[in-house]
Symmetry: C2
Subunit: 175 residues, 2 copies
DNA sequence: CACTTAATGCAAATCACTTGCAAAGGTGGA
DNA sequence: TCCACCTTTGCAAGTGATTTGCATTAAGTG
């Protein structure tokens, strides 16, 4: 309600299904330009793990390919030709892709998961800057937290330490 | 499922209602030792904003006072003498306390909010290290991200930038 | 082309959380 | 101390995201 680092709330139905890429915002990530990886390259990864290459999965991968920012399941679903497959299938496919390390799940603090095709090495590890007013997203190339990760792990005797980090603020247009 | 920085999943009913503090883990945060702030001091904050000091609210504050780590609504509810108040009241009270800046909400990536009494200045800003096996939590005193926050804000023209950051790993006992 | 088994669609179930509404109870003022 | 007023609470029902059961369909294989 007055939350400073407040949860990112999505206005119902806003900014969803229509525009795939973006209308000229600044993207600081180098990899993952829309449509960069060929669809065949992606389906090949499925085949390599003896998963079936179905119509729905191809469509889902294709939509993911076209988005430079993480998308919600609903957004993804809305970008597929209506009737192409069931919403449940999208959920199940993204689970599969996530478990195969092909997509990465992000959590912006509203109750909705977002997914991005993993592009670079490092499992696609990166972070975002999200406008809490208009929901626009900036991809942040650098990971600032790797060193802390190490020190935190060492100091507390933890192993396999990873982190989740997202930034929130008001974008230039919304100020 | 095989998620490296995977979502922290809580095993149903595990580690919940029974132990308030902790069984001798390392706590790196200085402030917020259990029971530090007097209950009267807390209810006074309610009175100061002309909110009613009700039975449920006192109980809720008292439970929060006794926990050194963020607690879920369910855990909080379970720590109150059964029949003390309705679950919904806990939800509503925490909203109130959050809006008054008395508690801070944390998101560990499972679908459940966690709350901690705000203790120090800086709105209680800090981070956690969470064991993805046993769910034990280490409070991290330092915030490493303030500088990144500034650089990220400046570089992208964003204002009022904040961040959410949590670390996940395997604790010494679970390795 | 037939077979085997994974994948899909549809409906129903969970889960965390929210909301509507009438009843109960703090509080400031008489 | 007593009261009226307005907040807060309890209970039931509603949401929205995500999951699950199950019978049906369709890749992949030889
Ligand atoms: Mn991204
Ligand atoms: Mn904490
Ligand atoms: Zn990082
Ligand atoms: Zn921080």
């Amino acid at each position: 309600m007055n939350d400073g680092a407040g949860a990112f709330k999505q206005s119902p139905g806003a900014g969803a299904a229509t525009c795939h890429g973006d209308e000229g915002d600044s993207c600081h990530r180098v990899g993952h330009s829309p449509g960069k990886r060929r669809l065949s390259e992606l389906t090949e990864q499925l085949r390599a793990k003896s998963r079936k290459i179905t119509g729905p999965r191809q469509k889902i991968l294709d939509v993911l390919r076209m988005n430079r920012h993480p998308v919600t399941i609903k957004e993804l679903f809305a970008q597929m030709p209506r009737g192409d497959c069931d919403l449940v299938t999208v959920y199940r496919s993204l689970h599969l892709l996530e478990s195969m390390g092909m997509v990465k799940r992000f959590d912006f603090g509203d109750g909705t998961a977002r997914f991005e095709l993993i592009d670079g090495p490092d499992g696609g590890h990166h972070h975002h800057l999200i406008c809490t007013r208009c929901e626009s997203i900036v991809e942040l190339e650098d990971c600032f937290a790797k060193e802390m990760e190490l020190s935190v792990a060492k100091r507390n005797g933890f192993a396999s330490v990873t982190h989740r980090l997202e930034f929130f603020g008001i974008c230039p247009k919304c100020q």
